[in-house]
């Protein structure tokens, strides 16, 4: 029972970590909290649905969906955020809200206000059993995919030139540009990565929810934002730590709170966030450079 809840917590934490990381990558480079990140997830979800309806095999459909998320993120940067480059944090924030609202309405009116069922393959609802201990295939995939994505990102940031430039840009963008690295490339890569992470998170999210709807991006982006703030805005390790912490606290509270208090779960979680920020105002693992906010 306890081991089971730990698996649940890690699985949810992994998804939150992917989401928070997507927000943090963009924030660390351009100082924008992209509230339209959730709509990238929604878009990937619809892309998955469309691919499955068109009869693509499941792995191909997932690939198409994740690529759609990544491309949409790059397009979003090109269309909405590039003209706003250099604008104040507030303007950027409002732009991201505008993009988010716009996409939601497009999904609602262009596709359907009704959630669409996504038939996940039967094996995803299966479970392994060891005696009376069972692990669902869904949570296992969730944990494995999150871990692989985090490792791959770490390798990219440490080993590739673009990755190194991105880490440097997070600390001091002007110096990186003086080194002859084009700003647009760095920023586009940051959005591409955040889109990839959003796409992956969307696949895990949809696998657990079996449906996509126009508003599905709202909750995850909120959770990711909380995780990123707790972890330390703009800090990538912080975002991962924040994501796992949030997932673990949520599952533990859900598992242990008595029925009468359970509805206050979110309030308790957010009080915990305030407590963490009181002790560590810059977050668990603060960004190397104080950010622009």
């Amino acid at each position: 029972m306890i081991a089971q809840q730990i698996i649940n917590a890690v699985s949810l934490g992994g998804v939150y970590a992917l989401l928070a990381l997507g927000l943090a990558i963009v924030f660390s480079i351009v100082g924008l909290i992209n509230f339209a990140h959730g709509e990238l997830m929604t878009l990937s979800g619809y892309a998955l649905l469309a691919s499955l309806v068109l009869g693509f095999p499941f792995p191909v459909a997932v690939l198409v969906a994740v690529s759609c998320g990544a491309l949409a993120a790059v397009a979003m940067e090109r269309i909405a955020f590039r003209p706003m480059r250099g604008a104040s944090v507030t303007s950027l924030l409002l732009t991201s809200f505008a993009v988010s609202s716009l996409l939601k309405v497009v999904f609602q009116n262009g596709i359907s206000a009704r959630p669409q069922a996504v038939a996940m393959p039967g094996w995803m609802t299966g479970a392994f059993s060891f005696g009376d201990f069972t692990i669902g295939v869904g949570p296992s995939i969730s944990i494995v995919v999150s871990a692989l994505a985090l490792i791959a990102l770490e390798v990219f940031l440490r080993r590739s030139v673009t990755g190194t430039a991105m880490r440097a840009a997070a600390e001091d963008f002007d110096v990186v540009r003086l080194m002859g690295i084009p700003a647009s490339r760095i920023i586009a890569t940051a959005f591409l990565l955040s889109g990839l992470l959003a796409g992956l998170a969307a696949m895990l999210w949809v696998a657990q929810r079996a449906s996509v709807d126009p508003l599905m991006g709202f909750t995850p982006v909120l959770k990711a934002f909380i995780a990123a703030v707790v972890g330390g805005l703009g800090s990538l390790p912080g975002a991962v730590a924040g994501g796992f912490l949030l997932g673990i606290i949520e599952v533990l509270l859900q598992a242990t709170l008595p029925g009468a208090i359970a509805p206050y779960r979110d309030a308790i979680v957010l009080s915990g966030v305030i407590a963490v920020l009181l002790v560590r105002p810059q977050g668990l693992i603060p960004a190397v450079r104080a950010q622009r906010s």
Binding site: V105, A113, G138, F218, A255, A262
Partner: protein, 388 residues
């Protein structure tokens, strides 16, 4: 010249006012305000219901309007599934002269609109809001139209008991009246008829992860043989996906909000799930004829029984205006409240003697192989229905 000019003007005046007088005399118009969700979480429920209502109003207008006399002008405003916005648009509709108000498929926004219509005596009908506390929370102008939650829950409980179910787990969410109360009504009836509630769990609407709750269900010492919930989209698909994913095969029963194409499209995942509807289209029934007519009208088949429920609202209003003999809101209200054994499409609808939640049949349905199969249609015994 001035005299000629004056003459001209007089003639013009006469012409204008003459026409105006004729137009008010010949075409009597009644404005129905629809404060309904076109976007947001309630849209998937409000839109089908509204489509049914429009169809009946179009048909009635073709025959001269309500009671053959009052042409209906339907004003529709989007509430964005937001309770505060519902009050705002309801006020706009009242200002535009609405004499009848239609509100969303949920108790909370309907109550917020009802707070505005109650003092003015404007009859207010919720499209498919089914919480029985809804009418009492507003007052005598507020009417439900769909089978009430406590009636639906009683029907499902009667069925579960008849199947020999003994132990139930109730999954509720305090976020809406519907998700909070319906399973509890079920529990009351179930316990009264010899069943036991072996556990309770809660969720937040829109919650991504049900794993902790599911692990709790799995860890129950006293294993339930049934899970009852009023969760709907997108929570119901998430819950059942994760429940089955955790290897739990206990049947899950719900109510009307899961009788939708989305849930049906989940296919094998929802096999055995029992839910309710406002009616079932048996061959040769009025409902089957309605479904054919609706398909012709809208270009697609009805998604659920919300369409026919909306259509019946039009019929109820027509009958009420006929009985009232005028377009006075208070007279219409009294006429609706007095309806008894009114022949709708799904069966007889009665308001007389109720607290304005109608007595009407409930159809029990069960998903099998991606299709909703009819189990039975019944009107639960009023003595069994728990108080709101």
């Amino acid at each position: 010249m001035p005299s000629l000019y004056r003459l001209h003007r007089a003639a013009l005046c006469a012409a204008v006012f003459g026409i105006a007088a004729i137009s008010t005399a010949s075409a009597e118009e009644i404005i129905i305000g629809a404060a309904t969700a076109q976007t947001g979480g309630l849209a998937p429920y409000d839109q089908p219901a509204l489509a049914g209502l429009r169809m009946s109003l179009d048909e009635l207008n073709a025959k001269g309007g309500l009671a053959g006399k009052y042409t209906v002008k339907l004003l529709i405003k989007d509430t964005r599934s937001d309770t505060a916005q519902t009050a705002t648009v309801a006020q706009e509709l009242i200002d535009a002269g609405a004499k009848i108000m239609i509100t969303p498929c949920d108790a909370d926004p309907s109550i917020s609109a009802g707070q505005l219509t109650q003092p003015l005596g404007i009859p207010t009908l919720t499209l498919c809001g089914s919480a029985p506390v809804l009418t009492g929370a507003v007052g005598d102008v507020m009417f439900g139209t769909y089978p009430a939650d406590n009636v639906q829950a009683t029907a499902v409980a009667d069925f579960a008991v008849s199947e020999g179910k003994k132990k139930v787990f109730l999954l509720t969410s305090p976020d809406s009246t519907y998700t909070a109360n319906l399973p509890e009504y079920f529990g009351k009836v179930f316990e009264k008829k010899g069943g036991a509630i072996v556990g309770r769990g809660t969720f937040s609407m829109g919650q991504p992860d049900f794993s902790a709750e599911i692990t709790n269900i799995k860890g129950l010492a006293d294993k339930p043989d049934l899970i009852m919930t009023a969760a709907y989209e997108p929570d119901f698909p998430a819950f059942i996906q994760q429940l089955r994913g955790a290897g739990i095969t206990i049947p899950v029963y719900g109510a009307d909000a899961i009788g939708t194409p989305t849930i049906k499209a989940l296919g094998k995942l929802v096999d055995g799930v029992v839910y309710t509807a406002a009616g079932y289209a048996e061959p040769g029934s009025k409902l089957e004829a309605f479904n054919t007519a609706f398909t012709k009208y809208a270009g697609h088949a009805p998604e659920s029984t919300y369409e026919v429920n909306g259509y019946e609202i039009g019929l109820i209003l027509d009958q009420a205006v006929k009985t009232a003999g005028s377009d006075d809101p208070r007279a219409i209200r009294d006429a609706i409240a007095g309806l008894k054994d009114f022949e709708g499409i799904t069966g007889k609808i009665t308001y007389a003697g109720t607290d304005r939640m109608p007595l009407r049949p409930v159809a029990l349905m069960r998903y099998e192989g991606g299709e909703g199969k009819h189990v039975e249609t019944l009107i639960p015994d009023a003595a069994d229905v728990p108080a709101p």
